[in-house]
Amino acid sequence: MIFSKHFMQKKSLASAVKVTVLASFVALAGCASLPPHPELEALQTRYEVMSGQSYASQEAQDELVKTRDAIALGRDAYERDDDDELSHYIFVADKNLDIAEARIELYETRAQIASATEVRENLLREGRDFDVARAEAEARAATADARLAQSDAARSGAALSAQQTQLALREAELRDQERELDVKDAELAAKQAQLEAAEREAQALADELEEVSMVVNERGTVLVLSDIMFDFDSAALKPGSENALNKIAQFLINQDSSDLKVEGHTDSLGTDGYNLVLSSDRAESVRDALVARGVPRERISIAGYGEDYPVASNDGEAGRQLNRRVEIVLNDQVGRPVGIGAR
């Protein structure tokens, strides 16, 4: 608070006089004293509390000093019973304390503003850092995506290439298989034609020769030589079979691409063992006769089956005569004889 020098000088002088007078009065009055003034005491307490605050001495130093002086002058006025002056200094002390409180509050608010400003700056920095970090993360993600896409493309390309290669190989295989099939078809057709030709020739042979008949079954083309070519109960060929054997041999020589199987069969008369031996011996006799007439031996295999594969009933002579036979199988497709009584 601004005090007037002019007035203060006068007041100082007056105060000095007053103090002197007061001191004299007190000295005369001995120990007599006034009771504490309630408002002054309240101001004193308020002043002391505020003075104890750590930063009050800095922020409201002037006001506290003025309060302290005003309280002192108020006490002085009270002791002199000067009500006007007492009221004035009570007002001055009270107002200075109000101003001190307001300054402290302002100080606190400004401190809060400073703190909030720092927080805002930190947040802005954090936000900038966050933005930078987010931008970096997005850039990294974009790079990773690009790499992934590149890798996917490469992988897809490689997979496609592999699939294409595999497909090309498969197509080549198919083409090879088709070619093989074509070849086989051609071979089969040729074979079929050959077989058909053989069948025709065999049929012609059978038609020509009384001793020979021909059947075509699942085994292929079969020439059946009747037992009239053999002596009874013997494996020796009759001399009268020469013509037939010559024509059969010539026919087989003409079928040079086919393997031959000569199989001997008997009727059911006699023992199995005997019939097996007889059938084998007759098959061997036919093979030897064919070989003697120019059919390569390596083309001919022989077997004796005895009575196991009849083609007719053994109950009558007619059936038994049919069962006594030697078969020459061309291009055997089954590998074993067929017959009505096959066992």
Binding site: S4, F91, K95, A102, L106, Q112, R120, E126
Partner: protein, 125 residues
């Protein structure tokens, strides 16, 4: 005796005249104008700190007591004027601080609002 009496009368006259003179001088003594100027400046400073909005009662009391001080000063009541002037300046000073406090409160609230929105913006996914 007469001359002595006259001398006493003359001294009394001079003393009286001196007393009257000094008394009239005291009564005629007014507060310096600069004190009023300083009080007005204190009020203007308070007004500049927007005290007219946030501390209008203190500002009004400051102006009122300044006026009363002037009137009392003009009427020769120097001591009363001095006290009123003193009180006017205290009102003005308090009004100024309260004006600054109001401004600080506004700034603080605005800052807090900005902080709240900033935090929300930063924590937005």
């Amino acid at each position: 005796m007469n001359s002595e009496k006259n001398g006493k009368i003359l001294r009394s006259f001079f003393v009286t005249a001196l007393l009257l003179s000094s008394s009239s001088m005291v009564l005629a003594d007014k507060l310096p104008e600069e004190r009023f100027t300083m009080a007005r400046m204190a009020i203007e400073e308070a007004q500049e700190s927007h005290a007219d909005k946030s501390a209008s009662s203190e500002l009004m009391l400051a102006e009122q007591k300044l006026q009363e001080a002037k009137e009392n000063d003009d009427d020769g009541r120097e001591e009363v004027a001095d006290r009123l002037l003193h009180q006017s300046m205290l009102h003005a000073e308090l009004a100024e601080v309260e004006g600054m406090q109001a401004d600080a409160d506004v700034s603080f609230n605005e800052l807090n609002a900005a902080l709240t929105s900033l935090e929300a913006e930063i924590r937005r996914p």
